[in-house]
Subunit: 246 residues, 2 copies
């Protein structure tokens, strides 16, 4: 049963060993070399085969368990999960998601300017009331059709954003490129009817159902780096979320 998957390690690489192991196991699962339900070698044997210690192997397996690819049970072993595994949730923007899905996203920047911060937004982002923040409003297209209206507020000085940048890439990619390390995001997802203005932008009728998302993203140190209020055409888009209970 235990497919003898070949894993080669590069001890001179800066990539941690546990990560090299995890990636190659994940790749084997994706390729189908490790069938769903099949059992992995036990940790000690695996460690022995690869010339690594058990903690390192455990760390690799734990990483994949957290991502939902593997399942461990005491006294039994480690198995590849049965169900088709969806990509675990990641901190990506709509743009990245669409490009991965081959949808050819396009962006039209409607507003990009500093504005006095609204009291409500100041509280969320933790900036002093009365200061200025960057306000951003975009219209997002996929496959030539309007898909969403995106409103964002960002602390000033976080990154130099130009309209040209924003039309070619997603906001998250640009922030990451500027050294912002996002770690936690809070999302509130709801629905409501489209206003006249929204309907016009999205080529829907007034009152058409829209999916709404409020998101606040925090960095490394828990500082808010972005707050967004987005509306999506429900007829063209839905959100996917995967929950994993530890």
């Amino acid at each position: 049963m235990t497919a003898n998957l070949a894993i080669d390690l590069d001890r001179s690489s800066p990539v941690p060993l546990y990560f090299q192991v995890a990636e190659q196991i994940a790749e084997a699962i994706r390729r189908g070399d490790l069938a769903p339900g099949s059992r992995l070698d036990n940790e000690i044997l695996l460690a022995d085969k690869l010339g690594l210690s058990r903690p390192t192997i455990r760390q690799a397996i734990q990483y994949l368990v957290d991502k939902g690819l593997l399942v461990r049970k005491r006294g039994v072993g480690t198995q590849v999960v049965h169900g088709q595994v969806k990509r675990s949730v990641e901190l990506t923007s709509l743009y990245d998601d669409l490009r991965r899905a081959g949808q050819e996203p396009a962006t039209q920047v409607l507003v990009l300017e500093p504005r006095p911060v609204l009291e409500e937004i100041a509280a969320i982002l933790g900036v002093p009331a009365g200061s200025e923040i960057l306000y951003l409003e975009r219209l997002r297209f996929a496959a030539g059709e309007p898909l969403a209206v995106l409103h964002n507020w960002l602390p000033i000085g976080l990154a130099k954003l130009t309209a040209a940048d924003l039309e070619g890439r997603g906001l998250y990619e640009l922030l990451r490129g500027a050294g912002v390390r996002m770690r936690v995001a809070n999302q509130r997802i709801g629905a409501r009817a489209a206003t006249q203005a929204e309907a016009r932008l999205l080529e829907e009728r007034r009152g058409a159902p829209l999916l709404t998302m409020l998101r606040t993203t925090y960095d490394d140190q828990g500082r808010a780096v972005e707050h967004g209020s987005h509306v999506y055409r429900a007829s063209h888009y839905s959100l996917e979320v995967t929950l994993i209970e530890r």
Copy 2:
């Protein structure tokens, strides 16, 4: 700066030491003894103080980092996150969420019976086509108002569910009580306009925006244990999701 938080350990308890440590740190954060942004003692010192080894302390801290309560940075230390920390996402049902929010949920069971499985559902749940599964349809109230229409499909024999049980508790609680260990859930969240039938049940107008959720839940071993198709009144409910990037 380092608040000398008192942590007492019970080595005779079956609760793992790392978990005892994690819980008490989390409690200190909730109480406010550990202010947001404050630094914890470094791992070695902490281990020394508590008479534990560094890996154990690391495991405790890692657990809290995964939950989004703490932030680690190499060469710097471990800090309590700044932003208000929301409870991390868990595999709970609407019922549990509402009860936690003090909303006094109520349930009316509309249908509870075995039915021949639809081809589409059979594929999702991984049961043979043509077999029977349990079909469940409920109307959920909160604070006396209708909130959602819930449709569920479950493999037969998973748990003995009665209408009486379901009116007093959430589905997830009942499943857990029956020994089902849910681990992964895939959710697709969208929106659409209410049909006439839905509008009548939910006391909305036809065409009112509804939040829709398709969810498939898998257990321990990756077997599907539940599939649900739910619609919520957008005017009364929204979903909250927290993402944490490792």
